[in-house]
Symmetry: C2
Subunit: 291 residues, 2 copies
């Protein structure tokens, strides 16, 4: 297992972690500049942030600052109520692959979607099995395109509390079932993003990490589960502040040769109320002690 | 599959559903009286409510009103930081079995506990595997006692969002693994409480219901998952108001011969702000249309 205690070379910042600073939406160029100044060498930007800045401009900045991308957040949202909706989703996902390629990302992270309309407060139906089939079909179609572009797709199992509105793939086992169905040759082009917030509770976590193996372990995300958790979306904890044994799981992942970044991704009103500098310095400190 | 559309004979009221009425804590005798007046024939009371009323008095009331118990909520909370704590938990669980026997309950529901201290806001450790071992040991010890009393124990897998603070058994599969280890003979004395709120999202739900079979399907609880869900504990939905296909799952359970009550259990600040009569009448209506 790699020693993180002496440097933060393997820290990647998911840019949502500081997308609001002192409560204000913060432009991506400022975030990238802050990272560079603090010696953070890798990032995972969100597509809405990339679009606000412009893909070409983002790409220039990333290259000039010599930043690596542990991922692009996010493709996915494959489900819809009709063929037109499915087609729009497929098109948007091809653009996401293109953007990830332009930024030379390690992978495109997929948050696969769930019951159509649920995120807007009104689910169009209750048939989660149908949504899961649409997801498998959508990932399969996108995989053909991604293979040509040589961009690995990382399915991110989301915590079951997001099964209705954000992602209907909620366990490593389910994600790997989809991977095995679509990529039985284990080509390295389809795998999982292991986000500790989403999977820490799973009694089969180690078993499924072992099943995944090096070819399917494409990303490792860290934050912590707080007790109590006061909000389903915006109360994630800084590593070390909660109950997740992150180091143990990192050991399990690295035992298979995973040598990518530990990407810190924290959606939190608490941290968004602080300055970017304070949040980033805490990320660096905790990367050394709690990741 | 049984037809519930014409009567609410098979509705059981988990008394937490109306434990607050118009915002005020409501005594159990009043709740039981309300049930009897509305033709609700079964209940599942909480132990703190039983203790407030007194076990003997509760037992008298239950008999005089001819109410059946679909379960007693709850035994469990098996985890601790030391032997003294484990011993206290074991003793309390034996009392819970005794109380369930006195009330002639169909089963004692077990919410098994998680990381010690987490529910109070400060977990004593992060070793969820240790908690799971303590739970298996605790259920095993209690099972010996429960067998003598002829009181079935129903492990309730709780939603993974409660894995840290309330129950570290979070899937049907895990619960049934514990059942198979402790009761390989499938005696009918150890099984699961299938609460749709906790397990609806699981892609292996039907598979594990089929694995459970009649001997292990001891209780069926209903409420609904709202989108959005605004609180991790107190924003459960009335059946029909959310995304769970309750009827489909009831069909799966009944295909194995389950013929018990559908127990409605809703913790909700929204419903607790209303009168008990309004909440109970809505439960009855939804039992006929959405369960």
């Amino acid at each position: 297992m790699r020693d993180f205690s002496q440097s933060h070379d393997m820290l990647s910042l998911n840019t949502a972690t500081v997308r609001k600073q002192l409560g204000v939406e913060t432009p991506l160029p400022k975030i990238l500049d802050q990272c560079a100044k603090l010696g953070i060498r890798a990032i995972a930007p969100w597509r809405d942030q990339i679009h606000s800045t412009g893909l070409v401009e983002t790409s220039k900045l990333v290259r000039s600052l010599d930043l690596k991308l542990s991922g692009v957040a996010r493709g996915g949202m494959f489900t819809a109520t009709d063929d037109a909706g499915l087609k729009l989703a497929a098109e948007d996902n091809r653009r996401a692959v293109d953007e990830a390629c332009e930024l030379n990302s390690a992978c495109l992270v997929l948050v696969v979607g769930a019951l159509p309309g649920a995120l807007q407060g009104k689910a169009a139906h209750k048939n989660i099995a149908l949504s899961r089939q649409q997801v498998t079909d959508g990932v399969g179609t996108l995989l053909e395109y991604a293979r040509k572009q040589n961009m690995p797709l990382a399915i991110e199992p989301l915590h079951p509390m997001y099964a209705a509105d954000r992602a209907c793939i909620n366990t490593m086992e389910h994600a790997l079932d989809v991977c095995d169905a679509l990529d039985p040759q284990r080509s390295g082009m389809l795998g999982v993003a292991v986000d500790m917030y989403h999977v820490w509770w799973d009694p089969k976590l180690k078993q499924q990490i072992d099943r995944a193996g090096r070819e399917r372990l494409l990303a490792f995300h860290v934050c912590d589960w707080l007790t109590p958790t006061t909000d389903l979306l915006l109360d994630r904890g800084m590593p070390g502040d909660g109950v997740i044994d992150i180091k143990q799981a990192r050991g399990w992942v690295e035992a298979h040769g995973f040598n990518g970044y530990a990407e810190v991704e924290i959606f939190s009103n608490r941290w968004w109320a602080l300055s970017g500098e304070e949040t980033l310095k805490t990320c660096i400190e905790r990367h050394k002690t709690a990741v």
